[in-house]
């Protein structure tokens, strides 16, 4: 399938919003792939971290909006720590998640009561809070 790209797409509203709230300039990225090489969560991702930035560079909004990778990212910041251009992908992933979560609204977030009592008895609160803040239910 071919993809048509244009000025309006590269400068599209969604992409611009992601750039704005993440504070990252996608065009700083020169696609070296170091982030993808070191990311611990790639096995469960559909787009590599470097590809998420790539799709944003090209303004491929739908693919990025619907990607699974943002939900798999654990914000471990290894990508940022090693990025030779200083791009913080954990912020970009968060921006993508946040925009989706804002769209869904509070009721759409993970409901902690869905977890088993056993699980809740052991899992630390920080996991629960992060889960609520960052994720949609699977």
């Amino acid at each position: 399938m071919k993809t048509v790209i244009s000025r309006s797409q590269v400068k599209g509203d969604f992409v611009s919003k992601v750039a704005e709230i993440s504070g990252e300039n996608f065009f700083d990225c020169y696609q070296c792939g170091n982030c993808s090489a070191g990311c611990p969560s790639v096995d469960e991702m559909d787009l590599l971290p470097s590809q998420v930035v790539r799709y944003l560079q090209l303004g491929l909004e739908e693919e990025v909006k619907n990607c699974k990778s943002m939900w798999v990212c654990a914000a471990c910041m290894m990508c940022h720590a090693r990025c030779p251009k200083g791009v913080d992908i954990s912020k970009i992933m968060e921006a993508l998640r946040v925009l989706r979560l804002r769209e869904v609204g509070a009721e759409g977030h993970i409901d902690v009561t869905d977890f088993s009592d056993d699980y809740l008895a052991r899992a630390p609160q920080i996991a629960m809070i992060s889960g609520y803040r960052k994720f949609l239910p699977l």
Partner: protein, 471 residues
């Protein structure tokens, strides 16, 4: 069409009086042959060699087949990575070569034959017909202002017009005109003769004949430079030159140039509209061993990034796309230049060769790919700029045959040893510099120009020592 400005830069009816600048030249034959050098090609490389040698007290004959010196750099707008204006960098050098008492300019000349030995060559040179007697001409420019025949000009890469009697630029050195026989009304149709009528010193000579002269020199530096690959005839997939809004990089230089046909405005050749979506395609004919040239043309990555940046300076809301295979920015400060350009100008680099261009309404459709997303990409562009391969200048093989030099498969002159004798040839006394040996940028070319000059100096001083010892 965008508004074309007059190339002469002179105000109407105000003839300036220009005296021949190289009249105060020291006599070429005033020194022995082992103190004379011929430099073939008067681009930035040849000029650098010539001035170096001239400054060292040698007599230099600087030969070029064009009517004035400066070469390709004359056509450029601004140069990477400092964005210095090319004219401002070049002009002092061309002026210096014209005014240097030890440098004799021989423009509109071609090499016919070589005889003799290293240290004492005899070069036969053909002086082409210019239809203007330069001994009489004062360079006043009246003929150029009055010439009624204005047509698409090669120097402007077909993007602008020039008169049939012309100088290559308002700052031409020597600043004396020649007539293009193919475009001159008098020479093609037998009617007109305006230039002859207005010339105050009777310098126009429609009957001028070719002439020949011989120069005796101790050493020769070859700096014949490059040309652009003939993509118009050889690359039908990019429109074969038939899509008006597809141009090559050197043409883009003319568009970007303040003294170019649009005075620096980036407008579409087809309808003069401002370009909002611009696609650059790199490696056009380069790195393509199957169909075109197997080598990399070295400077395209940098000049394309520069084009993109200069374009964005002029069209702030425009979008740039660059199709590339690898970004090659290896010189001092080059990598930083590219990275800064991408970040600041938000240039979309697409990793993949563009396969095809076609006209669709008033847009040029670019079919390409991005191997990083794994997608086939299409862009509807207002204008497409091809970074076409650079090839040895026309006639390089013939010159090689005359001088007894070797060429490689692509027609580049071969040096003696790639690593340790990069400017020496198989023949003693003949040296190479600049793009005729392999494509390189201005900085590397100029450095090589100085290196070749150094080799010629060393060689000629050894010739003199041998002579002294013999005595």
């Amino acid at each position: 069409m965008g508004e074309l400005i007059e190339l002469t830069g002179l105000k109407d009816g105000e003839p300036t009086s220009c005296v021949a600048v190289f009249g105060d030249h020291t006599d070429f034959e005033s020194v022995p042959v082992d103190r004379r050098v011929m430099v073939i090609g008067a681009g930035i490389t040849g000029i650098t060699s010539a001035i170096d040698l001239g400054n060292a007290g040698y007599q230099v004959m600087l030969v070029d087949r064009l009517p004035s010196v400066g070469g390709r750099m004359l056509q450029l707008s601004e140069t990477f990575p400092t964005l210095d204006c090319a004219q401002c960098t070049l002009t002092p050098r061309t002026v210096e070569s014209g005014q240097h008492p030890n440098v004799l300019l021989k423009t509109s000349c071609e090499i016919e034959d070589l005889k003799g030995e290293p240290g004492d060559f005899t070069v036969r040179v053909r002086q082409k017909i210019t239809y203007v007697d330069w001994n009489k001409c004062t360079g006043c420019g009246t003929c150029i202002q009055k010439c009624p025949s204005k047509s698409i000009a090669l120097f402007e890469r077909d993007a602008g017009r020039m008169t049939a009697i012309y100088t290559l630029s308002p700052q031409a050195v020597p600043n004396k005109p020649v007539i293009d026989a193919d475009r001159c009304r008098y020479l093609t149709k037998g009617k007109c003769g305006v230039c002859a009528k207005v010339c105050p010193v009777d310098a126009i000579n429609y009957e001028q004949q070719e002439s020949f002269f011989e120069a005796q020199v101790g050493a020769i530096i070859v700096a014949t430079g490059f040309d652009i690959y003939d993509w118009k005839n050889k690359m039908p997939e990019y429109g074969g030159g038939k899509i008006p809004d597809v141009i090559d990089g050197l043409t883009m230089e003319r568009y970007l140039s303040a003294s170019g046909p649009t005075a620096g405005a980036i407008v579409r050749p087809s309808d003069g509209k401002i370009v909002k979506e611009i696609v650059f395609i790199q490696c056009v004919g380069s790195r393509n061993p199957e169909f075109h040239k197997s080598y990399c043309s070295r400077v395209c990555c940098m000049y394309t990034a520069k084009h993109a940046r200069l374009y964005k300076h002029k069209v702030h809301d425009g979008q740039v796309y660059i199709f590339y295979i690898d970004i090659r920015s290896t010189g001092k400060g080059y990598e930083q230049f590219i990275q800064q350009s991408v970040s600041e100008e938000e240039i979309v680099y697409l990793r993949g060769r563009a396969a095809k261009l076609y006209q669709d309404g008033d847009k040029v459709m670019v079919q390409g790919a991005d191997t990083l997303t794994g997608k086939k990409i299409e862009v509807a562009a207002d204008m497409v700029v091809l970074a076409a391969a650079m090839v040895p200048n026309e006639g390089a093989r013939e010159l090689a045959a005359i001088l007894g030099l070797e060429c490689n498969k692509d027609g580049f002159f071969k040096e003696d040893n790639y690593k340790l004798s990069p400017v020496e040839t198989g023949r003693q006394g003949i040296y190479l510099a600049g793009c005729c040996q392999g494509i390189k940028d201005i900085a590397d070319s100029a450095a090589q120009g100085s290196a070749a000059a150094s080799k010629a100096l060393v060689f000629l001083s050894s010739v003199r020592r041998q002579k002294q010892e013999a005595v």
